[in-house]
Structures are given as structure tokens and as C-alpha cells.
């Protein structure tokens, strides 16, 4: 790989990282509006408010960057960058097609899970450093949540890796067959629930819970730093949706996949993202201890069961 190619790939990943979350955000605006019998953004940019999120970004840039005097200032300033960077690094290794990726590392699945977990650290840092009681409570909730979803998430991913016999996302995509849709269904469900909890999306948005903790760890943030957290949330949806699309829905596999494989990955990922958005519009919020209950009584056993099913399947098929 030449230097030019590396720079080019980084640039493409960065552009994707900046555009895809906006697409998800705009979809959420519009989908939510129509589900609630209203129009959503209609003015910015002319056609159905397509530029609303760009306008929001411009607005955030203009806002004053306030750092509370009680805050642990360096940590407070650094937290949004950490949250954002983790999903950027994760997105770099998610393959969109058999030869389309930002970087291809041998254990890319491990890499995605590892750097994805760092994002939550940004939330924790924000909660702890803000010098605000609501932020602190939110940060502690995020920490409690981390314990409950991280294990099922990794266990469900382990099942996909076992089925493919590889930790590389590209190899898993190649090994995929339609049979996985049923074979790996419990694991996929566990993944979806755990990913929603990691993203702190409803019904698992207890750390930010606006009606309880004002805005949790992000309460004290303004301007661009606040926008970074929002961007990180939507980038997280993109990463998790694409990841599940590659792991469970076969990524680029589909009709004419030699020509439009990338489109298939994006389409499948978009479908999963819609489900994540839909949950927000339909359901109230759970309580932190209820999530723990779900995680330990349902998700972990289900993920372990999936691993057993996968192991049996792998042994039977290798005969």
C-alpha cells in the first residue's frame, strides 16, 4: 500500500464517517415525524429540509464552548474526542464489499469490539469530569450499563467468528451463507439488543434519560463538543448496523453483488439502523437494574446457547 493510497482510504473513511451519520440522523427526523403525524424539518436546504443537520452543525459551531469552573478541565475537553474517535477507528475496518474497506486487519472483529468499547469511556469521562451531580449519575449509569451489554455483545460476536472460522470481518463475510439467517438468529438478536444498549439508544437510554438526569453526562456540554457526542451516537448506529449487516445478513452478498456489493452492505445496514431508530419511537425507557436483569437472565444465556448451537453446527458441517 502506497502512502497516497493510505491517505485516500483515510479520507474516504472520514467522508463516510461524516456523511452516513447525517443520513441516519435525517432519516430519524423524518421517520419520527411521520410516525407522529407531523412533517419534520421542511425548510433548510429547500427539498424536505435535507440540509437540516448541516444547518444544525453550523449552529453548533457558532455556540460558545463553555467549560464549567467545577469541571476537571483537560478530561472534560478530551472526552468528546475520545467518543468520536473510537467509532471512526471502528468504521475503518468494517468492510462494505469483498474488496472495499478502509483497512483490512486480520482480527478486525476484535478490533471493532475493542475500539467500540472505548467510546463508552468518553461518556464515563464526561460524566465524571463535568462537576455536575446529574452528569455523575449519568456517568455511573453508563458504567453500570457497560457491564451488562459488553459480555453478551462479545459472546454473540464470538459465535459469528466460530461459524466462519475467522476473526476477520472480510473472511466472515465470505464464509456467510443464507443458512446463517436461521442458524445465527439468536446471536443476532442478542447483538442487536446489546448494541442498542452500548449506543445508549432507547429503550436503553438511561445514562442520558432527559426526563430524569436532564442530559446525563452531556448536560454541561455546549457547542461543538456537544455536537461531537451527538455525532458519535449516530456514527455508533452506523458502525453497529453495518457490523450486524456483515456478520448476520451477509454484507455484500446479494443479486449482482459483483457490481453493487457495496450497495447491498449499505442497504442492509440501513435496514438495521431503521430498526434501532424505530425502537426509540415506540418504547419507553427501561430502568438500569431492569437492563442488568435482561442482560444476565436472557442475553448471556441466549448468547451461550448460540455458541453451543454454532459449535454443534461447525462440527457437523466439518464432517
Amino acid at each position: 500500500m502506497t502512502v497516497t493510497e493510505v491517505v485516500l482510504r483515510c479520507l474516504i473513511v472520514l467522508v463516510g464517517f461524516l456523511v452516513l451519520p447525517l443520513l441516519i440522523g435525517q432519516t430519524e427526523h423524518k421517520l419520527m415525524a411521520h410516525m407522529q403525524g407531523r412533517l419534520g424539518p421542511m425548510y433548510a436546504g429547500g427539498f424536505h429540509g435535507w440540509a437540516q443537520l448541516v444547518a444544525d452543525g453550523v449552529k453548533f459551531v457558532q455556540k460558545e464552548d463553555v467549560v464549567p469552573s467545577a469541571a476537571d478541565k483537560p478530561v472534560f475537553r478530551f472526552a468528546p474526542a475520545l467518543a468520536l474517535a473510537s467509532y471512526l477507528m471502528a468504521l475503518a475496518v468494517v468492510p462494505l464489499g469483498p474488496v472495499t474497506w478502509g483497512a483490512n486487519v486480520p482480527g478486525s472483529l476484535v478490533w471493532v469490539l475493542a475500539v467500540g468499547g472505548i467510546g463508552t469511556l468518553g461518556t464515563l469521562m464526561a460524566g465524571w469530569s463535568s462537576g455536575n451531580k446529574y452528569s455523575l449519575l449519568g456517568g455511573l449509569r453508563a458504567a453500570a450499563q457497560l457491564i451488562s451489554y459488553e459480555l453478551p455483545l462479545i459472546l454473540s460476536c464470538a459465535s459469528f467468528a466460530m461459524a466462519a472460522g475467522s476473526l476477520s470481518l472480510v473472511a466472515i463475510g465470505h464464509a456467510w451463507t443464507p443458512w446463517w439467517l436461521i442458524w445465527q438468529l439468536p446471536g443476532a438478536l442478542v447483538f442487536l439488543v446489546a448494541a442498542t444498549a452500548e449506543l445508549q439508544r432507547p429503550p436503553f437510554d438511561m445514562p442520558v434519560a432527559d426526563s430524569e438526569l436532564v442530559f446525563g453526562p452531556y448536560t454541561e456540554y455546549t457547542g461543538l463538543r456537544f455536537a461531537f457526542f451527538l455525532l458519535a451516537e449516530y456514527a455508533g448506529i452506523v458502525v453497529m448496523s453495518l457490523l450486524l449487516a456483515v456478520l448476520w445478513l451477509g454484507g455484500w452478498t446479494g443479486p449482482f453483488d459483483h457490481q453493487i456489493g457495496v450497495l447491498w452492505t449499505l442497504l442492509k445496514g440501513f435496514g438495521i439502523a431503521l430498526v434501532i431508530l424505530w425502537m426509540r419511537m415506540s418504547w419507553p425507557r427501561l430502568r438500569e437494574d431492569q437492563l442488568q436483569r435482561i442482560a444476565w437472565l436472557w442475553l448471556v444465556p441466549l448468547a451461550l446457547l448460540q455458541i453451543a448451537i454454532t459449535a454443534a453446527g461447525v462440527v457437523l458441517m466439518s464432517r
Binding site: 403525524g37 419507553p284 425507557r285
Partner: protein
């Protein structure tokens, strides 16, 4: 410092002020809670941030002007508040109100009750994190607001009541439009209910949470849907009938008192939901009756200076949120010597101090929302 909750580790309680500015307090209620981790040790409601001196202002207004003030303390039950003042003054004057006015007042009071309940059926799920129901409930509110606005000109503070009756006669065709609105709300109400009833998460958040015992209800004077959700079967519309309720709540009539026994947040929500149905039935019955009544006056001619004879009286009405009473003491002037206001939310919120200790912050929001209060009604 915050307590980490583990035994053996040094931990200290954290004092957290929920409000006066907080998303869950519907305005400016303040709760000073002492936390151990997320568990509430002590909770103290602190009221008065929206005190507007309503009772003192009543003393320097004549009886026509008082109504403008009186419909403002609970801004979600404006018409019911007006009715309370009108009934008090009328009773002290010994005034008879035309039958048409009485039935129209009953109709408007019940529509007002539906509007009030729909508000909480939207805002309560919002506090539990569900963002869609409020748009469904506001769609129905809009439907009913339209007919209320047509008759009174107001969307919140109707000021359609007068001592001795109503401001104006009903516009031509208005009864038909009300019937159409009621039918539309009835038809679409299942949309809202399907988002709430039977939702697993909503049940998990509300069932068994914030259980209020009948003893506490009696001790604190809690009333209205909150009391009935705990099995306290009291409803002034049936027990001390005013307006046309004696007939509506008579055996075989459309009126019935909704009671639940669980006393938790879910029961309180269910009472509200079912009361919407009952109130729509009552409103429909009023409409049928009004259509059958012959044309006639809707108010009584009042003297230029309205003076209430010396004496005192207390009239309580079943407002959407609970008992709303006016204790009027007159010395024969054109203004009251004293007009004490007994508002529902004040008593209903006072019980929070007993209810919250031992619960989590998340439960606190669920309980607070299920007490269905209006801050203006607390602080007056």
C-alpha cells in the same frame, strides 16, 4: 462525594435538588432529595416558586373579575375552576340557574376533564421515555380544543362561565360539531391506548412502583384519580352532586366512578385512561339532553353591582385532578372578605415525601409524573 454503595467503603449521601428547573417537574416544583447512590433516602417537596397570591388578589376583585383569576391556578382545568366560583356565589345568592346553562356547564366541564386527562396521558409516557404518545394525545386535544375555542374564544382560559349561567347562548350547529369531535376522539383513542396499555416496558416501569395506601390518602387529603387508583371510592360528582351530575350518576345513567385497587403508578394511569371514556360518555349524554331541551335563556340578569350577602359557604367540585374547593366569606361587599382556595395538586403532591424514600431516581420520575399535578395548582 457520592456513596458507591458497597459495604465497608466509606460513603456519604448526596443531596440533589430536582428543580425548580427540571424537565420532570412540569414547571417549578422543587424536590430536595438525599441520595445514596441512586436510592432516595429522604425527599422533601418545596413549593412556592410559582406563588402568585391568588387568594389575596381575590379579595380586591369583584365576583365577575374573580373568575378570570380563579381559572388560572390549574390551567389545565380552567372551566372546572370557573364553575366552582360560580356555584359558590350562586349558592350564597340563592340564585337559580337556567337548566340549559346547567347542562351546558356539565358538558363543558366533562370536555375539560378529557382535555386535562389527555394532557397527562401524553406527558406521563414522555417522562418514562416514550416520545410518541404525546403527539397522539395532542391530536385528540386539538379536536376538542376546536369546539371549546369556537364557543368561548379561548383555548385554555375559557371564561365562558358567569355568575348565573354562561356568557352566551350556544352557536347554531355547535352541538353537532361537538358530537362529531367526541366521535372522532372515541374512534382514534385506541391508537393512543395501544401505545400504553400492555406495553411491557411501561408495565415494568409502573407496576408496583409508588404504591399509595388508603391510609396515606386519608392522612394527606389526596383526592381525584390518584385516590381512586388506591381504592378510595370517592367522587364528588356522585357523592355531592352539583350541576347535572345527580341525574347523570343516577342508577342507569352513563356516569360511573372509575376505581382501581393497586394504588401504583400503573393503576393511576389506568384510572386516567378509563375516565376519558367515561367523560366522553357523560359529554355525549349532555349533548343528547341539550338537543332535547327547549330554547331558553342561558343566564340570569345580574345587577350592575353584584354584592353577595353576609355569610360564608364552601363549595367543592370534582375537578379533573381532585377536589377543588372555594371557601367564601362575605361581609356583604362587592368583593369577598376572604376566598380560600383548596386545590387538588397541593395535597396530592404533599404525599411525595412519604412515597419517595426507598425508591430509585428513575422511579422518582415515574411516581412524580403519576401524581398528575399542575404547579400553578400547588402554589396558587
Amino acid at each position: 462525594m457520592v456513596g458507591v454503595g458497597a459495604g465497608g467503603l466509606a460513603s456519604a449521601d448526596m443531596v440533589l435538588n430536582i428543580g425548580p428547573q427540571h424537565p420532570a417537574t412540569h414547571g417549578v416544583l422543587r424536590l430536595r432529595i438525599t441520595l445514596d447512590g441512586e436510592r432516595i433516602r429522604r425527599a422533601e417537596p418545596i413549593v412556592g416558586y410559582m406563588h402568585r397570591g391568588a387568594e389575596k388578589l381575590f379579595e380586591v376583585r369583584d365576583y365577575r373579575q374573580i373568575m378570570v383569576l380563579a381559572n388560572r391556578h390549574d390551567w389545565l382545568s380552567a372551566f372546572s375552576n370557573e364553575i366552582g366560583v360560580a356555584l359558590t356565589v350562586e349558592r350564597m345568592l340563592g340564585m337559580d340557574v337556567p337548566e340549559r346553562a346547567t347542562w351546558t356547564r356539565t358538558l363543558l366541564a366533562e370536555l375539560n376533564r378529557v382535555l386535562n386527562h389527555l394532557m397527562f396521558l401524553g406527558s406521563y409516557p414522555l417522562e418514562l421515555g416514550a416520545i410518541t404518545p404525546i403527539f397522539y394525545s395532542f391530536r385528540e386535544r386539538e379536536e376538542l380544543q376546536a369546539v371549546m375555542e369556537e364557543i368561548s374564544g379561548g383555548r385554555m382560559h375559557y371564561m365562558f362561565s358567569r355568575v348565573g349561567g354562561l356568557r352566551d347562548d350556544l352557536p347554531a350547529g355547535w352541538l353537532g360539531r361537538v358530537a362529531a369531535s367526541i366521535a372522532a376522539v372515541r374512534r382514534r383513542l385506541p391508537d393512543l391506548e395501544s401505545l400504553l396499555v400492555g406495553n411491557e416496558i411501561l408495565r415494568a416501569r409502573t407496576r408496583g412502583v409508588g404504591v399509595l395506601s388508603p391510609e396515606l390518602i386519608e392522612a394527606y387529603g389526596v383526592s381525584g384519580p390518584i385516590a381512586r387508583a388506591s381504592g378510595v371510592d370517592v367522587d364528588l360528582r356522585r357523592d355531592r352532586p352539583y350541576l347535572a351530575y345527580a341525574e347523570l350518576f343516577a342508577p342507569g345513567g352513563p356516569g360511573r366512578v372509575v376505581v382501581r385497587s393497586a394504588g401504583d403508578c400503573l393503576a393511576r394511569l389506568e384510572v386516567l385512561l378509563e375516565q376519558v371514556h367515561v367523560s366522553l360518555d357523560l359529554a355525549q349524554a349532555c349533548l343528547d339532553r341539550l338537543a332535547a331541551l327547549p330554547a331558553g335563556p342561558v343566564n340570569v340578569k345580574l345587577p350592575k353591582v353584584l354584592k353577595v350577602p353576609e355569610g360564608w359557604d364552601y363549595v367543592a367540585t370534582e375537578n379533573p385532578l381532585g377536589f377543588n374547593g372555594y371557601y367564601l366569606v362575605s361581609r356583604g361587599d362587592k368583593t369577598p372578605w376572604r376566598l380560600k382556595l383548596r386545590s387538588a395538586s397541593f395535597n396530592n403532591v404533599a404525599v411525595l415525601g412519604e412515597l419517595l424514600p426507598g425508591t430509585l431516581i428513575a422511579d422518582m420520575v415515574a411516581i412524580l409524573g403519576s401524581m398528575f399535578f399542575v404547579v400553578g395548582d400547588i402554589d396558587k
